[in-house]
Symmetry: C2
Subunit: 306 residues, 2 copies
């Protein structure tokens, strides 16, 4: 794969940005990949581990001359960053982001960008429970999906180029509108995270079962929830606040179904429970067939580790 | 480890029984391990793969002469099995089980057992989302916990022997009473399973997001839920029906917390969300430090599998 952009600027140097850096290096996809992070500690770490060809102390220096600027910061600060960098954006540059919410990011960022800059919001559906500059790896996007949400009237060439970049980093790419995106991820990501956080919070807060018991006896299912409930708190706070409507809609549906199942338990309606639990197996099979999860028992976790 | 029991009978030949067989063979822990399953197909499969030294077509033949009888059937049929086998139990034998619920199993099974037989209910906190005779493996119990729930007045020697068997199969063992057991597993296993089933059911049932989208875009968190929502429907139906009170109590607490978080989202209370999401990280760290889960990102799943 030939070089696609001469200069890429990664703004924010956490899990996604660092994985993009390693994936771009793996594929030789950019002339240089530079970075900026607000925190001096993050910049220091990035320099130590060779993350980015150049790490700058200011946003302007990183953005200046970049053909592609990727906003990899929590959704809540995208607008402030866009406003701050607007003046130094190169004409003809593409600005994109990797935020988990799209309508809100578009509303925050769009108004700040000058004419002649292409704005193509994006969202790679990939991650781990780890965060920070050291958590990235080149394979994170392999066979994962990246959703592009270009506004009407966006230059198709700029979109095609960004699509090719993501494909070259290993991802499958799909385009959709912001509203549909926000609903899809409310189901596949945001509601599951809130539910996992809630379940872990409940377990942590019981008087009659100690934390030590919860931890020791977690292999019966609970530990699965703790992984996503260990994700970055700032990122997730912003996600819920900025995708409020879709998340609350899905949580409303969830509560409704949960109440129906609770009633079936209370009334001893075994047929209802059995039918429900049989239906949900099919979705798991679909995910495995689509290559989106492993069929190895317990996700292929190492067994019996002391 | 020397042989501990001359003859062990496994009643029901699914994931747990088959894992016990392979773990006992690995350790040379029993003279012979025989089995029985209600389904002719299961017995056939067991014979084909060498699961059990002898597979019998009737319950009586399997139980006859056994020093240890292990009930590995769904919780809902434990009572019927106990009643059917009571007449052939050897005097001095130990009867145990591996059911996920203890008070209900004790109530079902206890009254059928003759004097001179030791009844020591047990529950290994280990499993995978796979079921059936082919799903077992010797390492399933390594560094997992097995909870013993002996009734008052149980012969301490019989309990000590069963404890040593479980430890020799790789498990850590703890004793507790049935009521506390049922609450602990309601938190660490039963409520998480019901919540996962619910979330997967909701995603499967939305009009505005297709199943195909849910499957493709599942790597953002949802796929974690589908694993436990793929567990055996009959087993789980029986678990919820027989641990009704504790499960409903925990689900009540869960709903309360979920409503509080939903309100924080609706009101834009970012501080509440951030504090909550920070607290839940500590539990994850505890689980990893206790060797009950892996620290590898995404559970160490193979990445980028097509």
């Amino acid at each position: 794969m030939a070089q696609m952009y001469d200069r890429v600027a990664l703004i924010g140097l956490g899990l996604i940005a660092s994985s993009m850096f390693w994936a771009m290096k793996r594929g030789g996809l950019a002339g240089e990949v530079v970075g900026f992070a607000r925190s001096a500690e993050t910049r220091e770490t990035a320099r130590e581990i060779g993350l980015c060809d150049q790490v700058y102390d200011t946003l302007s220096e990183a953005v200046e001359g970049a053909d592609l600027v990727v906003l990899c910061v929590p959704v809540g600060v995208m607008g402030a960053i866009a406003s701050e960098m607007a003046g130094v954006l190169k004409s003809g540059a593409t600005v994109t982001d990797v935020g988990s919410v799209k309508a809100d990011v578009i509303a925050q960022v769009g108004p700040h960008l000058p004419k002649g800059v292409h704005f193509i919001p994006a969202h790679p559906l990939a991650g781990t429970e780890h965060s920070g500059p050291k958590s990235g790896f080149a394979e994170l996007f392999d066979n994962r999906w990246c959703l592009l949400v270009p506004a009407e009237g966006t230059d198709p060439k700029a979109t095609a180029k960004l699509r090719t970049l993501w494909e070259s980093m290993g991802a499958n790419v799909e385009e959709m509108d912001a509203e549909h995106h926000d609903l899809v991820v409310a189901v596949t990501s945001h509601a599951p995270h809130l539910i996992a956080y809630t379940m872990v919070g409940v377990a942590d807060d019981l008087r009659r079962v100690t934390d030590s018991e919860v931890i020791k006896y977690s292999a019966g299912g609970f530990r699965d929830f703790t992984r996503i409930a260990a994700s970055d708190p700032t990122m997730w706070r912003d996600v819920f606040l900025s995708n409020k409507d879709a998340t609350l809609e899905i949580l409303g549906r969830f509560t409704e179904e949960l109440f129906a199942l609770q009633r079936a338990i209370r009334q001893g309606d075994g047929d209802h429970l059995h039918a429900y639990f049989t239906r949900t197996r099919a979705i798991r099979r679909g995910i495995i067939e689509a290559g989106q999860d492993t069929d190895a028992p317990n996700f292929g976790r190492a067994v019996g580790k002391k």
